[in-house]
């Protein structure tokens, strides 16, 4: 919602301190979020994304705002066909923007089997490893030399957007790209309270304080 309303540059500014969480534009964006909440099932606000997607499959919900991995769930787990059974659209205001996250493995200092771990990491990062993993999960490779034929249907459109030089790239909050664990967990708390109280000004103030405290 903040990305769609503020645009990619000001959205990124929220995480670097350049956009003020207490500003009028942020409050206005949160007011719009309130309107969306009024039409949502907020009783299940703590539910996981799969039950939410199931409602769309059952026809009880119109749409769900979710990431590329939903394609893995719909296309593979639920055996639905892209374009005939389900379709996608950029959420309002986010056309030409890619909100990204990446899956990563860490190699700890002092790892016992460093050589084996390095082999695993090399395999994961190789063209072959990327092309084996991504289509199964419902994600796209960061590598530009991956085999495009392996990414069909929705993933083909996602890969095209990702590699388009005109696409603006921003980072996902939920997956820890733009906020550290401390800030992220304070945002979780503030969001939980916001969904109950619906007070944009209080939410903005709480996040601004959390940002300053966890910088």
């Amino acid at each position: 919602m903040l990305l769609g309303e503020l645009g990619p540059d000001k959205y990124t500014g929220l995480w670097t301190g350049k956009t003020d969480w207490k500003s009028a534009e942020v409050t206005a964006a949160l007011d719009t979020f309130n309107k969306v909440l009024a039409a949502s099932d907020i009783k299940s606000s703590a539910a996981d994304w799969q039950p939410a997607a199931d409602r769309v499959i059952d026809g009880a919900a119109v749409y769900t705002v979710m990431g590329d991995w939903l394609d893995g769930y719909l296309g593979r787990a639920k055996k639905l066909t892209f374009k005939t059974d389900y379709d996608v659209a950029a959420s309002p205001g986010s056309s030409g923007v890619y909100d990204f996250l990446s899956d990563s493995f860490t190699l700890p200092i002092g790892a016992k089997h460093r050589a084996a771990a390095e082999k695993w990491l090399t395999e994961c990062g190789s063209v072959q490893g990327q092309d084996l993993f991504n289509p199964q999960k419902g994600s796209i490779p960061a590598r530009t030399d991956a085999d495009k034929a392996k990414y069909q249907n929705y993933l083909a459109t996602a890969l095209k957007d990702w590699q388009d030089p005109a696409t603006k790239i921003v980072g996902s909050l939920t997956h820890g790209v733009v906020a550290n664990n401390a800030f992220g967990s304070e945002i979780d708390t503030a969001l939980g309270i916001f969904v109950q109280k619906r007070d944009p000004a209080a939410f903005g103030a709480a996040i601004a304080k959390a940002y300053a405290d966890t910088k």
């Binding site: 703590a46 539910a47 009880a60 664990n181 967990s185 979780d188 708390t189």
Partner: protein
């Protein structure tokens, strides 16, 4: 001197392992937790500084803690303890009348306690699902099938301040059988002669119960209240598996876990844990004081 050591020496050696384990794992870590709550530790690297009561003061102006967690746990404890006591007591009363197959009933009512709260929560999450129409399941569907569709409830997903009271249902289901066995043991402990004496004096059965049995159940009731209250205050798994991150059923124990291990706010988590300990202590300390006094009188 030698004789004295011979008298209590073997006993001491016997309990020494558990005494040491207790000293380290209970009181040692308790002390460490309090120490952490007085530091500014945040993130994976421990901080050993000293900031006084800052973390506690911050909690008292923390909206999640004061407006959600504390009222939530108070409501849950009230409904859970009162409900389990009432149901356990009634079940004990019925079994005490001498039912055929008493052993079977006793085991059946006690079984839910053997199931972990995680498993209980997963079953009851489905039973208390709030879906309607085609996706109606669990208790709501049962009610609708019995023509009581008007009682359809959102349970713990309700918008009401009392949403957390719904969780007292599975918690009570788990523990009321245990309360029943406590009360049953208490009722059986009342000597038959006392009841008979009252009957000879012309007392009706309800009066026998009220004036003879009830006063003797007071110690049982006290221990039941203490056990249930401390379970209630520290329950974590039931809420976690039911609907984690639903702030309507958030409690100090959950906040402690999420803020410490998701956010890395170790000092704040330790402060919440210490406050929880104080909460449990306000229930247990008077009880211990009372039982010590009673034992001294004997």
């Amino acid at each position: 001197m030698m004789r004295r050591i011979r008298a209590w020496g073997p006993g001491l050696v016997l309990i020494l392992p558990s005494l040491i384990a207790l000293a380290v794992f209970v009181y040692g870590f308790l002390g460490w937790n309090i120490r952490v709550s007085l530091s500014s530790w945040r993130g994976l690297a421990p901080a050993h500084d000293f900031v006084g009561l800052r973390n506690y003061i911050a909690l008292f102006s923390d909206q999640r803690f004061t407006e959600f967690d504390v009222p939530n746990i108070a409501i849950f404890t009230l409904v859970f303890v009162a409900g389990s006591l009432a149901i356990g007591f009634v079940m004990a009363l019925l079994l005490d009348r001498g039912v055929t197959g008493e052993n079977a009933f006793r085991s059946v009512y006690l079984f839910p306690m053997a199931i972990s709260f995680i498993a209980t929560a997963i079953i009851w999450r489905w039973l208390m699902d709030n879906g309607s129409g085609e996706s109606e399941t669990g208790i709501n569907k049962l009610l609708a099938g019995a023509g009581l569709g008007a009682l359809h409830s959102d349970w713990f997903k309700s918008g009401s301040r009392w949403a957390i009271a719904a969780i007292a249902l599975p918690a009570g289901w788990s523990l009321s059988g245990y309360v029943m066995s406590l009360f049953l043991a208490g009722m059986r402990g009342v000597p038959e002669e006392l009841r008979e004496a009252a009957r000879v004096d012309g007392a009706s059965e309800p009066r026998v119960f009220w004036h003879v049995v009830r006063p003797m159940l007071l110690p049982v009731m006290m221990s039941a209240v203490v056990i249930l209250t401390h379970i209630s205050l520290k329950t974590f798994d039931l809420f976690y598996a039911m609907d984690q991150k639903n702030i309507k059923i958030d409690t100090p124990a959950l906040y402690m876990w999420f803020t410490t291990f998701d956010g890395g706010f170790y000092a704040r988590g330790a402060a919440i844990a210490t406050l929880l300990l104080l909460g449990v202590a306000t229930v247990i300390v008077p009880y211990i004081w009372y039982s010590v006094r009673v034992e001294r009188r004997r």
